[in-house]
Symmetry: C2
Subunit: 125 residues, 2 copies
DNA sequence: TTGAATGCTGGAGTGAACTCCAGGGCAAGT
DNA sequence: ACTTGCCCTGGAGTTCACTCCAGCATTCAA
């Protein structure tokens, strides 16, 4: 069969790929945001494609302000299996609404900041 | 002259007005984000219209993610007088660009989240 | 006049999310 | 044999932005 191994990532490659630091990856594993990662004979981590994919989701949720605790709940739902799909949808929808609010709030504040800039420009001649 | 005093706010009123907690207001004064606030005979704070206005700006910058340290620099520039107006513009413009990036990043991540929701919906029948 | 509300200070504590460190293992090049 | 680089663990430390507290003063309505 395949002469090359299934794609597997070293910690360094995952850092490169995901932008999370090594310490952050270990931290995420410790707190259960990542399922226990496979190890090679020497005990070093070897991440699967699936792990990296999940880290992409984590990056996405994290960057939109989801607290780590909530991401852990989400991770647990995924581990529990298909019967949690509705709950996962509900969680993501609630988050989506919060993201929407964030965007709207930012836009509004941005207008105020731009007004201030315009005011300073008018004062500065 | 005027029979009523110039408008002045008690701490409670400022809390009401700005949404910052009493402790946060005291904290902001301690770290120099607020200039020393006037006191009445009993040593209690009495905020001016100007203080409240500045707190509005603080709220705006804070809600768009400006670190407290940078707001302090901005506050200091204001205290230094008119010759800092250009620097203030530069600071606000840099912040505006960061806000813009935030908005764009959020929008992009939001699309990914919505895709995930759509995927879960399709799986859930 | 009394008791609830509001406020004061200085300093300690909190929670979130990392980040760093000491002390060590293993593998490959020279 | 030795250095270099990558990685390991458990636990301590850091940063940010508050938030809380003890102990006390003042204000005000009933």
């Amino acid at each position: 069969m395949g002469a090359t191994s299934v794609s597997v990532y070293t910690p360094r490659q995952v850092v490169e790929e995901t932008g999370f630091s090594l310490d952050t990856l270990r931290y995420y594993e410790r707190i259960g945001l990542l399922e226990s990662i496979d190890r090679n004979a020497a005990g070093q981590r070897r991440f699967t494609e699936k792990d990296v994919g999940w880290l992409g989701m984590v990056r996405c949720l994290r960057d939109t302000g989801m607290p780590v605790a909530e991401m852990i709940r989400f991770a647990e739902m995924i581990r529990e299996g298909d019967h949690t799909v509705h709950d996962r949808i509900a969680l993501l929808e609630a988050h989506d609404r919060r993201v929407q609010e964030q965007v709207e709030n930012l836009r509004e504040r941005q207008r105020a900041i731009r007004n201030k800039i315009a005011y300073y420009r008018s004062v500065a001649d």
